[in-house]
């Protein structure tokens, strides 16, 4: 067990601790997805992974905690295929809430002027407000979107307090985690360098895709965005490998479903855009209700841009040059590589572990939150190790 002074010092996290924390952070994020979402505001979340990021921040400092937050975002994008927009927004919000707030708040917590609750709330406020600002700035572009500020502040106070209270109630678990007591029991999970990314040699495609991405964000013409969306959508439906007729049909329908799924995932933001730009847009009235020419054009521009980003995300994903990670000596790069194979089993492991945690909590089997979290973590890690052995 670490002493209080151990816990407030700033050692460097080892790659094993980072890998374990990354798997747990991703597991917590997946567990959060099992909770019901608030209709029309699916981005309002408790932020379960902050349960881990807050103690990590206090233990290792703002920069390592930002590394953990960024690595977690990259991992969930690489493994779970989260939308590109979520990755962009999550990265910026993570940097502001963990690096910005952490750098200011951590010394205050260490001096005893600020508590866990203040840290959690400040971090949640920064995260949620940054998310709102980035979404408004990059995607929605309508000042009316800021009507959510007051509910967001209230939600941040509630969710930040809950996360901070829970985190501060599980101190023995964090001590064990950061001392490496929960590290892999199985073989090394380091990715085989040869098989990590079959498309490694085509990393120029990745740079090209980033260029296209920047272009999409800057392109101010809705017609150009529409043409791009049609091209990307139809291109994705062409069976390039020339399979037989039946196979071609199957490939086509699978591609159609996956592309439609990507577009469908954007519906809450599309709905907000339609409401803001079509009904509360400004410009020259068209004579059809309160529709304005500029409002319709703004909706078309931002809706097609969002659809383009949704369609482009799954295409950029396999091109990510993992050699960047292998060449780096950073514990975060190594942690990502080590955690990658374990993450493949998470979607099947997390629901069972979460249910077990909940049952134990209700029945009182787990005497403390620490014990419950330990059981949850051990189940996740054991599942990951055993499945990767086979």
């Amino acid at each position: 067990m670490a002493s209080p002074t151990d816990m407030i010092s700033s050692p460097k996290p080892s790659s094993t601790v980072v890998a374990t924390c990354l798997v747990l952070a991703c597991a917590l994020q997946l567990a959060e997805n099992l909770l019901p979402k608030i209709p029309l505001f699916p981005w309002l979340k408790l932020g379960l992974s902050h349960l881990l990021i807050l103690p990590f921040l206090l233990r290792y400092g703002a920069i390592p905690a930002t590394g953990l937050a960024i690595s977690r975002n990259l991992l969930t994008w690489m493994v779970a295929g989260t939308p590109l927009t979520s990755l962009m927004v999550g990265l910026i919000a993570g940097i502001v809430s963990v690096l910005g707030v952490g750098a200011i708040a951590r010394p205050l917590v260490m001096k005893g002027w600020m508590g866990w609750i203040g840290l959690g709330v400040a971090s949640a406020v920064a995260h949620n407000l940054t998310q709102l600002a980035v979404v408004e700035w990059i995607l929605v572009d309508h000042a009316g979107f800021y009507f959510q500020i007051a509910p967001l502040l209230i939600w941040s106070a509630v969710s930040g307090s809950i996360m901070a209270w829970l985190a501060s109630s599980a101190l023995p678990f964090w001590s064990a985690l950061f001392q490496g007591e929960l590290h892999w029991q199985g073989p090394s999970l380091t990715v085989d360098a040869e098989t990590a990314s079959p498309k490694e040699s085509a990393s120029w495609l990745f740079y090209g895709s980033l260029g296209v991405l920047m272009g999409l964000l800057l392109l101010p013409w809705w017609k150009a965005q529409a043409v791009f969306a049609i091209l990307v959508f139809t291109q994705g439906l062409i069976p390039w490998k020339k399979p037989g007729r039946e196979m071609a049909h199957r490939t086509f329908s699978r591609a159609w479903r996956s592309q439609w799924r990507a577009v469908k995932s954007t519906w809450p933001l599309l709905l907000f855009m339609a409401w803001l730009h079509l009904f509360h847009g400004e410009g020259h009235l068209l004579g059809i209700g309160s529709l304005t020419k500029e409002g319709v054009e703004a909706f078309a521009l931002h809706a097609f841009r969002l659809v383009n980003l949704a369609l482009l995300g799954p295409r950029i994903l396999p091109l990510f040059p993992r050699s960047w990670l292998r060449k780096s000596s950073s514990p975060f790069a190594q942690g990502i590589l080590a955690a990658l194979p374990a993450l493949a089993t998470l979607p099947t492991e997390v629901p069972g572990a979460a249910r077990e945690f909940w049952r134990g909590w209700k029945k009182g089997d787990a005497k403390s939150l620490s014990e419950g979290l330990r059981r949850f973590a051990e189940k996740i890690l054991a599942g990951a190790v055993s499945k990767n052995r086979t």
Partner: protein, 127 residues
């Protein structure tokens, strides 16, 4: 981490600041993005302005020439007009729902909060 407090005095300050922030931001939730101004030229609704966000300008072609309108979260004001008396310019910022900014010589009326749409607004403008 045992030595770290769960609640410090900075936390109390933070909650007070948050409460003030909620109070300031609450009107945005109540009014939503719905506060608008409609620009009428010769009695016809020509443009719709959203009274949210930072101030921006709009030029309007009136009967006498070009009028420059400034609008945003603060309301609407006529920044420049070609008329001799400049009454609309001297009126300054208008933000109350139902208020009007009128430039009679140019046949331009700005009605706040969209209360007046075509057919429901004023019958005509005389000068």
């Amino acid at each position: 981490m045992d030595s770290l407090k769960r609640f410090g005095f900075v936390d109390a300050i933070l909650f007070v600041v948050l409460l003030i922030g909620v109070g300031i931001a609450w009107p945005l939730l109540v009014t939503g993005p719905g506060r608008v101004a409609i620009v009428y030229v010769d009695g016809r609704p020509e443009a719709k302005l959203q009274l949210v966000g930072q101030s921006r300008t709009l030029t309007i072609q009136g009967d006498l020439g070009v009028l420059v309108l400034e609008y945003g979260a603060e309301g609407v004001r006529m920044r420049g007009a070609p008329c001799p008396n400049q009454i609309c310019v001297h009126q300054g910022w208008v933000k109350r729902a139902g208020a009007r900014l009128i430039c009679l010589p140019s046949h331009v009326v700005i009605a706040l909060d969209g209360g007046a749409t075509q057919g429901q607004g004023m019958d005509g403008v005389t000068y």
